[in-house]
Symmetry: D2
Subunit: 348 residues, 4 copies
């Protein structure tokens, strides 16, 4: 195991940070040796500084790490970031300037023109932005981001449609409570209920997929030229965001052609057999009532996006449902896969 | 109370039948004196034949009624029907032939050209079909229906938009488990989960609103000429169906004009102060995160439709959320209001 | 309505305070004219200072009251208190000294020897402590408390057993999330889960019933001489605490004698027909699977305690289940009934 | 893998049967080659005959097995049984007569004097009953049973107390819905609710632990001489039964002695490193609010019993909470471990 690459986590005590700790425990490529958190926690053992909120218990390997302040100093070159948005800009920038590769789940840099918003199966070539980013900003390091937890399954599910020309898509999300962190959604608000609003969510869901599905040409990402409308809702589910999607296309493929595109969809993570890559990134389920967040979300380590119910839409062309595990494929797992891809590209 | 109109319920022991029993207990206009159910129950006291599934306990006034077979015979002239779809056609027809007014929640006759599919605030004039129906079918009685539990709040919420020309609307429903009857949805299927499918639901949601919002002219209902697409889902909520809706209009009203249309929306039930009429049929809530099924569904006796989050849609013109109590405004309460309207029109 | 007694609420913006506001809106005996809260809220309209967390919406009559600081000054003589425990002692004392009658839901004074811990159906005579309290403390006013939300249904359910000599009882509670206030229990903690611990709850459940069921003699309450053991748990229910109870008695009544004692149990609230008094304070349900919190808790305005499943216990003598609505009979409703009793006793 | 022992499952299409299929897929010691179900399913592929109700999807290895009738004929020598109680007696008996080893989760034979009611960590020596059973009944095969899903964690948690003389214990269970099979508990009954009754459960919980904790002497099991009382409840949890327990002992150990007994508790499954054996059968959690069914139930493959909150009981001596995964440690997993133990004892 001595050959594993040492990594750190910024914002390690929060819920996404805990997911990083869980996913990195025993990771074959990375070894978590450094955890950064607020000054309040710095100097304590991670096990003392952290109230573990995930199911199960804290991995022992991380419990004994001493929490550092979120300053570059002695952190490993590769750091994952789950910093709160209100401090992420400054801290992530400081790390990138100091030569670190920051693989971030925070939203702050996602829509910057020179920062990759990466879904490795979809737009691995956007890593080409790193060179531009370094030139623009004079950084030795770099910042690479993963998308919002709804944008990931949405962009992945739509990726096989891209070849047919995506003109418009409209989506309604039914999102799990784990997406709101801890304590997050009060039980009084969500037990036996639906909340038809998630602050700040709809703009991200409407913007990010267009960048993810965009083309990298001449040193820039050219967003997909499509219209998007999103309705975001919270439902009483622990993990797994369900989406209904209607999509209008330029070409008129048959259902068989679409299913073939979905079934054959693969990316570099599968070709290179990256540790966190699911064997099949898009699994289409044929049962009428699937996928379902509780039954399907956690399968394959939470990295698969599930689709179902592809059928004609009487307004647009096609409609379907899709599902992604929000704290894994939509957050920490996404970032880990991003780092695995960068390692395989020789970028670490 | 001797002046109340005697009424019966067909299919009285099922869940919608129980809702009829509950709503009719102490009703100022109607007195429940007759309950019909399957041969298996006939002859027993309602209290013995029925496993009460609603919250609270069975009203005493109904517990002592003796269950009759579902045959016209000695039933009152006005009967509410919550028959299972597989037997409703024959039985409702037999009652209508025998001179009964059948106010039905069953789906069987809803889309028949000469049968009103009634939402009293929206299309009271469709009662004009009764004359045609009697002529066509040679019935002394009549069948009047209420829509599916999603179609009701959808049509009501869209009614104020009609004046601006509705061209298209797309909706995603998040539906409560009570809509599936008893035992209905297994707890193993829905606890902490979403089921992205409800058998037979989407076609109803796509068809019925067009008839409800249609115009009664020259003895026929001319459906609204609009395109509809629906995605129906089950969520872990007891009562109350939530919908997200995007709608495209011919004209381009401002948000203020739309809100004014919503706020001023009233119908005959309000004008005539019918017993089950909510004071304001469409209540628009201004909080970002409302309405919510658990918090708002049961207000005003479950007969109000709540709306919220009206905002521009980047694909269509406007999007919003709406909510209706599925077992009241979307089922038994809808039928009771239909009967109240018919009484006020002198049709009973 | 001009003859209603003006009342105030201390801690009016919190969740118990909101329950007071809801229960007092339209109360026939009391008129809510004064609301006190923290300095942060003082001066604002109640409707602006308060995020309404209960189902439905804020009563209009209270929304326009201006929030005062929690100082005696111009408050009405009768004030209900739902102050946080960390400030209740000082504030409630200041009001009592200044001549106010403080009817409190806070725990601070409950176990003081000269403060009534009142359940009007059970121990109305404990109001005799007020005289002692005034003598001891030199107060013109007084403090009267209601018990913890588990202690209320437990003491009420055991009251009919008292005549047979209660020696021991052991209880396991399954408590609703509303008991924890807002935001209270995080949804991540309780969805599809049970939490076998509620901080500080078990000591209250083990102490308070002994005082409630105690005898007032010679100017003092003599606690019931019984042993109690409690296991308190949180379950994913909105309102209504369920308890399993096993009880050992000195005498050996038959089941019929116990049921007769339960059925005939009444108190001063019923004799005097107090506005918040349920017609029957203990309702014994004969169905095997009742009572249930969602189905029975809210019946009769939430003031009834429901019992069921009385059967022999192979260790103690009898075991049964009971249920009380925690935010009504176990909190704000309990206090309102206490005040109604005091009014009927000429103590206001 | 050719050296694995072929096994069958009786009642393979039901929910416990599906759990057997899941647990046996890839089992290192056993290979599932035969599935028996009702005549209705016989002849079909398991994948067609079975509506998969567990989270995730059906293991491919079992989907292609052809379902047989539940008759001995060509079934493997070792069969697991999850037959419905109404047919289990006859069928299990027929298999045992025909020389099969029936490792059953059904309740029918559990309390027979010559049938082991086995929890391998607790009473492995009860396997001595097999010899008696064969003598009594003239069987070449045998029937071995595992206990009810509440009795397993209860008996395991109490096993370390046995050395101190168990006199009495009282328990309240909060049971998951998966224990009721499929469709089992209706969502209308349990969402946001507690049901204080489970048909037929309390007698099992009061009887079975006494046999499990009994001593095998002179060819018979002598039940533990203790009094038991149980209150069984259903709560809205998917998997994992929580129990509160109060226990009275003959001796008066300190808390340290009890914890030492719990911590050091091991059995033959651990000594022999059986495939389904958890490394530590009783895990005591020190956090106030643990264990919890959703967070802890599935850990270690669902075979660990978790304990917590050991503290003095003011009526009995000690009280604590415990948790077991009901469909694994309390059903299919229990039976698989029983068979592993029997294999290690040379009994297959």
């Amino acid at each position: 195991m001595s050959s594993r690459i040492e990594v750190g986590v910024l914002g390690a005590t929060g819920m996404v940070g805990q997911n990083f700790a869980r996913l990195l425990a025993g990771h074959p490529m990375f070894e978590l040796t450094w955890v950064g958190a607020s000054d309040r926690s710095a100097g304590k053992k991670y096990g003392e500084a952290t109230s573990w909120r995930l199911d199960g218990v804290m991995p022992e390997s991380v419990a004994n790490l001493t929490v550092s302040e979120c300053k570059p100093g002695n952190a490993p070159k590769l750091v994952f970031s789950s910093m709160d948005a209100n401090v992420a800009t400054e801290i992530e920038q400081a790390f990138a300037e100091a030569g670190h590769i920051v693989v971030s789940n925070s939203k702050n840099f996602r829509m910057e023109a020179d920062v990759p918003l990466l879904v490795p199966e979809v737009n691995a070539d956007h890593l080409g932005l790193i060179e531009i980013q370094r030139k623009n900003r004079g950084w030795k390091g770099a910042i690479v981001t993963n998308p919002n937890c709804v944008a990931v399954p949405l962009a992945m599910a739509l990726a096989p449609f891209k070849q047919f020309g995506i003109k418009k898509f409209i989506t309604t999300s039914m999102q799990a409570v784990s997406g709101a962190g801890y304590p997050g959604v009060a039980s009084m608000d969500i037990l036996g209920n639906v909340i038809p609003y998630i602050g700040g969510e709809e703009p991200k869901v409407e913007e990010e997929p267009l960048k993810i599905l965009g083309d990298f040409k001449n040193g820039a990402v050219h967003d997909l030229d499509a219209k998007v409308s999103a309705h975001c809702n919270r439902v009483p589910v622990i993990d797994g965001h369900m989406l209904t999607v209607s999509v209008e296309l330029e070409q008129k493929p048959t259902k068989e052609e679409l299913l073939a595109a979905i079934h054959s969809f693969r990316g570099l993570p599968q070709q290179r057999n990256l540790p966190s890559a699911p064997p099949v990134p898009l699994v289409y389920m044929t049962e009428d009532n699937r996928p379902q967040p509780r039954r399907d979300g956690p399968r394959d380590g939470g990295m698969t996006v599930f689709m179902g119910r592809l059928r004609p839409c009487s307004i647009f062309d096609w409609k379907f449902v899709c599902l992604g595990h929000n704290t894994i494929r939509g957050a920490a797992g996404a970032a880990v896969l991003n780092a695995e891809l960068m390692q395989s590209e020789g970028l670490l």
